[in-house]
Symmetry: C3
């Protein structure tokens, strides 16, 4: 099935073939994402970036992806409510802005809003995160990163042991990622969380039905044993209900050098959706791994550009034109983006 003209609201839209097609396109777009080549297939197209709640990095990543395809972007953060405060329905807002743009990215704190907006327009709507719901492009870039890391090491995803650790109850990104991972074969999914913050049962059952092995534990050393991938989630204080407390989120679920070196596979891939809480005693992913080549967190955020470019090109039906449209860029680019970037990960 083609993605052309589709709304991208949930990970459930994707099957294996669509993912493969999307990731091959992302590979093709990598040199553009990295600023080595120029692609103008969307020159003349305009993206409406509607953020009903602030999420700077997500907005900037979508913006950059669309701009690097030659398109133009019109942004709005929060202020979109000016008309809504006047009693306008989401359906009206959606239909109005749809007359201005070729594609919309919508971020909204209310889980239902993005669906209401999408149902009022035939202009493709991309879900940039809908409250406690999904964040499909985050899951796509996570999976794309995982796929790239395995490919570099010549490892196959099949049979690998993937540990998801932290607040698995509110971690929207791990929910979406699990939906996508379930499409693959023979994985062992290890869920490491406090008993009070478990992965939703429905998602675990779905993965089990697809033949994956599921393990649950509240012991990090046990859960991360021989892990090929460790995906740490950040603490979602803002989503805690009154009955839950951040207290549950103790140092027992902190991923640091000692834990990784102690129990994981030597070539383990360490991931995190970011932002991570680096304040003292936050018990989030430790900074003592910052110079560790296995830390893939910034390769993850970097992957957001080619992934979102591929999604835009697919939804707008220009994917087939990308290959023939590339030309060299001739402005300066550093060999590495960050001082701690792994030697194998250069922009050249």
């Amino acid at each position: 099935m083609s993605l052309t003209g589709k709304h991208i609201l949930s990970c459930d839209l994707f099957d294996r073939d669509m993912l493969e097609e999307l990731f091959l396109l992302a590979d093709l777009l990598q040199p553009v994402a990295r600023g080595h080549r120029v692609c103008r297939v969307l020159e003349g197209a305009v993206l409406g970036s509607l953020f009903f709640e602030a999420s700077t990095r997500t907005r900037l990543s979508f913006d950059s992806a669309f701009l690097r395809l030659g398109g133009a972007v019109s942004d709005t953060t929060g202020v979109t409510v000016t008309s809504i405060t006047k009693g306008e329905s989401l359906a009206d807002t959606s239909r109005v802005v749809s007359g201005y743009f070729d594609v919309l990215v919508v971020r909204h704190p209310d889980e239902q809003a993005v669906h209401e907006i999408a149902s009022a327009t035939h202009v493709p709507v991309l879900n940039g995160g809908n409250g406690g719901g999904e964040h499909p492009t985050q899951a796509l870039l996570d999976l794309y990163t995982l796929r790239s890391e395995f490919a570099r090491m010549g490892k196959s995803l099949k049979g690998s042991r993937i540990a998801l650790i932290g607040d698995l109850r509110h971690g929207r990104t791990v929910h979406s990622l699990l939906r996508l991972l379930s499409l693959y074969e023979g994985l062992t999914i290890v869920c490491v969380s406090p008993p009070s913050l478990p992965m939703p049962r429905e998602l675990l059952d779905r993965a089990a039905r697809r033949g994956h092995r599921i393990e649950e534990t509240d012991n990090a050393s046990v859960g991360l044993k021989d892990a090929d991938v460790v995906y740490a989630t950040r603490i979602q204080k803002e989503r805690f209900t009154s009955t839950e407390t951040a207290f549950d989120y103790s140092a027992d679920f902190r991923v640091d050098g000692a834990l990784v070196n102690g129990v994981c596979k030597p070539e383990v891939v360490i991931m995190h959706p970011l932002p991570r809480d680096s304040t003292a005693g936050a018990n989030d992913l430790s900074n003592d791994l910052d110079q560790d080549v296995r830390l893939a967190i910034f390769r993850q955020t970097d992957a957001g550009i080619p992934t979102r470019m591929a999604l835009f090109a697919s939804v707008l039906g220009v994917a087939h034109q990308v290959g023939s449209s590339l030309r060299d860029a001739d402005w300066y680019r550093p060999k590495y983006i960050g001082p701690n970037d792994a030697p194998f990960y250069s922009l050249q």
Copy 2:
């Protein structure tokens, strides 16, 4: 008279010939506005979008219009006041930003501000709404929509009956629209409002002097009888003075299916500047007309793009280059923007 280099501050600037020229250009730019063709006549030009008060849809519409001409946009909402809070005069602010941009769009809550800004620069300034003053581009897109609807039906504006209903005292858009309608011949303008919220006398007298027939009533059934056009205005609670109350704005002035089907001409065109208040008991334009092909409110907002594109191209003196500059766009566009779009109104 040519619009090149002109400030567009008031509807009074326009005569019939200028409107015709502008609307023909808008017709030519429709395929670009709809994303079927690409126009780059303003590639290299930069628009400064200065919104001293938030008005998301107006800003996005101007942005999209300029971007679809190949130009670039730099936005600012509210924050412009950072220098003004330091005691800077509007004249200084105007002259400074004029050195950065090729054209300015200014939205300001104070009616005089846009005039102060325009008088301090020779860079064209477009009025994006100045408090209780005017909103010329809204009036232009309203008239362009009206013209298009009549053209489609093969009707002539001359002799038609146009009902303006609601808060005609604070309704800036109906004031500007009436100024433009007065340029045409032989219209019957029916003003339907509570006695306390009438159309300003000065505007009615001007229209009468130009030979138009004026009727005033506070009875919607009487006022909308045999109407060719019904233009409903939204309630302007925020502009009410302490002595006035929204109480005056009762269900008596609500435009809904029963009223329209009961008294209007069968082919009546129903318009509204939007946003409309769709909350319960708002007594604004009813949602029970949403699937009615005669409801032109979204064709109205869509018309903002070609109208503003035509204005930018005219003010910047590139109108004559538009025709020869168009090329096909090849990204996906839906046949209809919204699920309720009328069959005759498709993007193909």
Copy 3:
């Protein structure tokens, strides 16, 4: 030394040769800055404009400069803190956004932040003002303006008398300007300020060591006597500590027609970083000079575009391509930007 790939954090980076090279490039880019020619050397490149505090004119100037080189811009004002409020380190923020953009402009109220951000990325970072620290591009455009004014009059900077007047203690821009002026020869720098708001000793000593003549006075008539240049600074109320008071900033340090005509050289160049406080009794640069051709304050702000364009082109290593990339622009441009622009200063 080449600027390609460099972070531009402080004026101390520059030597005379680099300044000359930069200013020659700025001269070449003037027709583009003024909208007469189009340059697309950065088509495909994306700027990340990260303003951790609002500074509208600075942001707009950087945006316009980058856009006029054919690049695209993604803006963020204040909202960047969404991830930082979640405990993210500046190093993480920097590395993440560096994966999205080819160059960053950073404005931050904390003097150290821009250095932390720059040290976490190899993507060039331009300092857009770091609290009480520096504002290098402001100093560059000030010097470029001064150089242009002298060139027009056929005067040499060498031996000229440059008066800096006002709050020289908190005036970040005069600090940066003095750093750059120190690179030239045989200047007389006159510092006119209240005794409580003097130019920092360290900067005066540096200038003296380089052979410049330094004078300090709290008497404006004495300080501005025979001045070739008068650089007035705005009152920095927001930077005053509790022990200091705006009271020190009396009318004694106000630059107006009477003072200028009374004591300065007839061809004196009057400058100010803007914004200036034009409210009654502000004692900032007087408006009675607004029609005086010697008032260079808007030629100063205009100079921000070619200067910042030159900086972007240099840092991104495309300076050598500019000359061969220019084509004529054909949209309308006024002969003068402002009604008070001096006859010698036209856009034609």
